[in-house]
Symmetry: none
Subunit: 215 residues, 4 copies
Amino acid sequence: MSSSPTYTSKAAATRTRILETAAFLFWRRSYHAVAMDELADKTQVNKATIYRYFPDKASLALEVAKLNGSQVQSGVFDPIFEQYSGAEDRLAAVYRCMHTKLATLHREEGDLFGCPIAGLALELGREMPGVRTESAAIFDAIQARFLDIALDAIDSGKVTGWSAEALSRTLLQILHGAFVSTRLAARPEPFLDAANASLTLIGSKQRLTSPSGEE
Amino acid sequence: MSSSPTYTSKAAATRTRILETAAFLFWRRSYHAVAMDELADKTQVNKATIYRYFPDKASLALEVAKLNGSQVQSGVFDPIFEQYSGAEDRLAAVYRCMHTKLATLHREEGDLFGCPIAGLALELGREMPGVRTESAAIFDAIQARFLDIALDAIDSGKVTGWSAEALSRTLLQILHGAFVSTRLAARPEPFLDAANASLTLIGSKQRLTSPSGEE
Amino acid sequence: MSSSPTYTSKAAATRTRILETAAFLFWRRSYHAVAMDELADKTQVNKATIYRYFPDKASLALEVAKLNGSQVQSGVFDPIFEQYSGAEDRLAAVYRCMHTKLATLHREEGDLFGCPIAGLALELGREMPGVRTESAAIFDAIQARFLDIALDAIDSGKVTGWSAEALSRTLLQILHGAFVSTRLAARPEPFLDAANASLTLIGSKQRLTSPSGEE
Amino acid sequence: MSSSPTYTSKAAATRTRILETAAFLFWRRSYHAVAMDELADKTQVNKATIYRYFPDKASLALEVAKLNGSQVQSGVFDPIFEQYSGAEDRLAAVYRCMHTKLATLHREEGDLFGCPIAGLALELGREMPGVRTESAAIFDAIQARFLDIALDAIDSGKVTGWSAEALSRTLLQILHGAFVSTRLAARPEPFLDAANASLTLIGSKQRLTSPSGEE
DNA sequence: AATGAATGAGGCTTCATTCAT
DNA sequence: CATGAATGAAGCCTCATTCAT
């Protein structure tokens, strides 16, 4: 899961704690806004210890990107694609799942932070090519999931005038847009619009509405 | 056009130069990645001169946001809404215009930088509420344009199952998503996908294709 | 009164305004705490204009010191020594006069600022020998007044065990101490203590009490 | 001895070195005239290290004030009040002690710098209320010493016409005045005048004269 | 394997001062 | 004369990083 050598389990735990704290903080406040001092504080670890596990702050960013990428697969797409089949159900389930997570986050923290992967990539892509590459790979993998859905939808004859490729790219873009809107508005509802736009595009009449009934 | 006091023409020119250079640099490399030193260098102005016109770096960001907001209206929506009427033509024209701009930029600089307004807002929204507010206002104005289009499309009977409100929100989200994708991929083509998704949603069969025939 | 060339009366008025504003501000907030920008603002004069009348900030300080020195003579010692004779009456009158001024200032501004001459000299003596010299001359002149008083008191046989020189030095020191205390405490009352100590030393039984009756 | 957390001995040594250097420099050249760069140089420490121990320059000033306050008690009043009893002896001893210190300083450095506590307070009282409060507390403690002396003197019947309170306030003012005069004149002798004025006020016929016989 | 202590480079801002009209 | 505009130097502070134990 990482390019570093293996560690004893306690060391691995420390490394994981650092990484997850970094992911947490970078997501909420961006890479540049989080100082190594604060990361050390919040991780309850000495700053020099961080540098035992990660050569520098930049590689922490890269590892965070990888972590985020693997979590979106294992936490969202893997289980949903296992449990559901069919373009509509899968797409609806993906959005329902994400919307639920965001709604919880919003309730607990009063704010939303956009897509952690795109966030890092947008902030650091220019100065850290590795992050750009990594996030490109992650989004390729997500787009591959949407390609499954697109092919399925086209097969079923409900979509016309779209290549599966273009449709999958578009589904990904809509997801990006939803994350941007949730962050700008600090509200989770844009995910419902995005879900419905996506469902519309794959020819579904299904709609997602807020479970709590609010718009 | 700005909340600052007015200046004689030479001062105004300096102020404008600073502001536009800042807009240029912040767009390409983000607010935090651009130091006041570099801004002074690139503007060919002493650092202290910058502080004659802007009380601090943060208010530069705010003025840049305002500038970006006024430019997208005066440079894209105003002329297009004057020249075109009808949902389809207007939406297509907006995307064609933006795609052209991005393609040029891409040809000249070899890279793309996303939406300058959303970029600043995503980077600074948390630490600078003013930027968040300003960009919210800008995107409200853009969404109002999309609402015109949505109402028109619904009136014409080509769209079913969408409220004009929801449709306009969705159109804005798709635009956000397109910008994210162009930046991540460093290619302008995602704008074509976004254009087509948007046209599809307003019930149009029109399609945008790359003028140069690629992709 | 100044080493500068003579000016037309309007220019002289400008120069005077600058100087008095500087004296006002330096007294209240110290030389280093007052920027030339603020001085220009408060004087309603362009900053470059200040530099037409004063070669640099340091010489402004020197001129302020001179102004303060001449004002304490013309505003306090000259009239009092003209009006009163006799050690006791003169000394009492000096303190009564100063206490009244300070009480007024305290009522109007809610704070006190110490001796303007000593203040500048203490702040700048090290880096600006001219200010030290000037303030030394001023305090020599004040001490000369006290020497008059001391000689008078000794002549009258009320003081024993003191040379007139030492007594005059001491009276000046007590005045210094009073100013320090008023500034530290932001209250004018220490002047009453100082008055009484001075009167005691010159063998007087006279006492100064607060006109308002408060301690 | 300070409100800061405790440190291991090496850190404490560094902190102490910084603090004492700051006290040294602030005394000689004032707070505003000493840059953090110079303090780092003179302490042989990196600038960032200073900020490990003191959150900013202002709190350095406050700690310096506290240090000065504790040193005047432990270095002057504590031992003298232990060794001597009786108003006259104590007062004379205090002034003899201070005069000796100042004479040494004057011999070694060719200059005198006034009261370090009052100096900071006069310079910073306005902009840093904490320093004002701290120095007020320090001078209250010193005045309490003088109150002991005043009560003693009044008890012994040598003083008439003074309340112990007023007398103690006056003794403190005379001390302030002595410090001002030593700094303005760059000579220690004013302390002798102040000593004699103070002794006179408490009804003593004792006199301090320069040990070396000059003046 | 981990920590407390230290560092050099660089960030933002402000100052006294001068130029050009 | 007077002003608006501009500047170089310097000030305070913070960051990512490394040293020494």
